[in-house]
């Protein structure tokens, strides 16, 4: 074996490497942390949808089915189940991109550690968003299986449900992460959660068709990303919806995820590489 000697330091410059690009090394960080606590997380990501489906499908569902004969021609459970996946994706995305990102900047300072290595701010963004995507995908697969077990899927397109979840998750994760990177403390997080996330959860057509809402509110809801996530998931699960509407939902979420990612790289760079 020949060792190349560096002309400046006169030291052997060869390092054994695995051959991963920097962003994947940063992704490994997330995966390694997740691997330490995966039991608790898997449990909650299975349990949450099962409890929800049971309560909605058996409790509220009975009531709706008996009195209104289901919603949009399907039983209430089948109507609400795909929406829960989109809501779950939003939940995971916001949980992953508020406190944990602030912690990595301020408390554990792990982002500062990372940028003193060959990893750059952009790599950290790619890794973080990839991680949110992977996390949502894992939950999405288990969720889709649970929904299938309840017999609530009506279309073969339903195999794409985890992907729709990922897209919804990224449409939230990227802009929220971009915002978090501009914050010095978590003071605004509870406000954001209470006045943005929870209303979106309640009013984006997950639990009832938005045609039930007053007209002005319907047009507001249509600019909420979760509305498009819910509609997309429902389209895939029930095989309803026109190609044009579906393309619009996808485009809306993609646009948010892309613009959000760009903003995110910008705010991470401003913070870490100033």
């Amino acid at each position: 074996m020949t060792t190349t000697r560096d002309p400046i330091t006169a030291r052997g410059a060869a390092q054994p490497t695995v051959g991963w690009p920097p962003w994947r090394r940063a992704l490994w960080y997330h995966a390694a942390f997740w691997a330490r606590t995966w039991r608790g997380q898997v449990l909650s990501s299975f349990l949450f949808p099962i409890l929800f489906l049971a309560s909605m499908g058996l409790g509220v569902g009975q009531l709706v089915n008996n009195h209104a004969g289901g919603v949009d021609g399907v039983p209430y459970l089948d109507f609400v189940a795909p929406a829960l996946l989109a809501m779950n994706a939003m939940q995971i995305a916001s949980n992953e991109t508020m406190w944990p990102i602030l912690a990595s900047f301020k408390w554990t300072r792990s982002y500062w550690t990372a940028v003193s290595t060959p990893v750059s701010a952009k790599d950290l963004v790619i890794a973080k968003l990839s991680w949110v995507g992977i996390h949502v995908a894992m939950v999405g697969v288990s969720f889709t299986l649970v929904v299938a077990m309840f017999g609530a899927l009506h279309s073969p397109w339903a195999v794409l449900l985890p992907l729709a979840g990922v897209l919804t998750g990224l449409a939230y994760a990227a802009p929220i992460a971009a915002y978090t990177a501009t914050q010095e403390n978590p003071n605004s997080f509870p406000v954001f959660y209470r006045f943005m996330i929870i209303p979106m959860f309640l009013f984006s057509g997950g639990f009832y068709p938005i045609s039930q809402l007053p007209g002005w509110l319907q047009s507001v809801v249509q600019i909420v990303p979760l509305y498009h996530g819910v509609a997309l998931c429902r389209t895939l699960a029930l095989g309803q919806g026109t190609p044009a509407a579906t393309a619009y939902h996808i485009a809306f979420l993609l646009a948010l995820a892309s613009v959000g990612s760009w903003l995110c790289v910008r705010s991470f760079r401003r913070k870490l590489e100033a």
Partner: protein, 300 residues
């Protein structure tokens, strides 16, 4: 060829100029220091040298490369010990090293092979380590990639005296192994003990450079006589002893007389009928150099 070369280096944050046109060169195998009070521009300089923050103006080469264009390649060969600890406290010492080593794309087995010193504490949570041990773990972490240049930003700030000695001992060992060290500090004793060569920084500028002993010889006398006269002010006494020393500095709590022979000067002070509450004869330090050059003390 120097490992690091800077010419006219400037760092501005908006209107504020943190580093105001400095020149320096750092050579392989030496231990180079940036000494100055808080806010002198040391950390900003460190961030530019470690290719995290870009220079606003001036030329900088690190390991012969341009940080602007080859940041990740340079950082692959640097080790950085930041001012604030940034360990993953939930993880064990070994996992901290693995986590960090993975950023350098080192295989796990290779990281384990390189960890020789942790021994019995490898599987302790980093949170359970003392302040000095945390610092040493951070230093161990920065060495996992076997860097050509180790950069330490205020390595002992916030540590108790015992922990400081623990860190110094480790750095001294690295120095004797030929590792190139770059250290920022506002402790003159640290700079004197660890640095072969240093620059003294104040308000973003370099006010002096050289070996610690040379700087002291050039800018101060051999000995210093410190006199304390209680709380009623030292001004009147300063006038009386003025001609006994090459220079007299009046600090809020004491007078400093810069002299060749401290004991002789003290005898002369007594001979003039002055009875200070306390008197101390000591060698000149970098603190005196800083005071001479800037009119201020290093640690306020």
């Amino acid at each position: 060829m120097p490992l690091v070369a800077a010419r006219g280096l400037v760092k501005r944050f908006g209107e504020f100029t943190a580093v105001d046109g400095i020149d320096f060169e750092i050579y392989g195998g030496e231990s180079f220091g940036f000494l100055g009070p808080n806010g002198a521009g040391k950390t900003s300089t460190m961030k530019m040298v470690s290719c995290i923050s870009p220079a606003t103006e001036g030329e900088l080469t690190v390991l012969g490369m341009d940080p602007q264009r080859e940041g990740p390649r340079i950082r692959a060969r640097l080790g950085l010990v930041p001012q604030e600890d940034s360990l993953e406290l939930e993880l064990t010492a070994m996992d901290n090293l693995i986590m960090y080593g993975r950023y350098f794309d080192l295989p796990r087995a290779e990281i384990r092979r390189r960890v020789t010193q942790l021994a019995e504490r490898a599987n302790d949570k980093a949170d359970n380590f003392s302040g000095g041990m945390k610092r040493r773990l951070t230093i161990a972490r920065s060495l996992i990639s076997e860097p050509d240049l180790l950069i330490l930003d205020e390595p002992t700030t916030g540590l108790d005296p015992q922990a400081r000695h623990l860190v110094w001992e480790r750095l001294y060992r690295l120095k004797s192994e030929g590792v190139t060290l770059v250290i920022t500090t506002h402790y003159m004793d640290e700079a004197e003990q660890l640095c072969d060569r240093l620059v003294v920084m104040d308000r973003g500028k370099i006010v002096a450079h050289g070996a610690p002993r040379d700087l002291i010889e050039r800018h101060s006398t051999r000995e210093v006589l410190e006199l304390r006269f209680g709380l009623n002010g030292h001004g009147p006494h300063a006038v009386v002893v003025e001609d006994l020393a090459e220079r007299v500095e009046e600090l809020p709590d004491r007078l400093l007389l810069y002299v060749k022979d401290g004991d002789e000067a003290l005898a002369a002070v007594h001979a003039r009928g002055l009875t200070p509450e306390s008197a101390l004869v000591r060698r000149s330090t970098l603190e005196d150099v800083f005071l001479r050059l800037t009119g201020r003390t290093l640690v306020d």
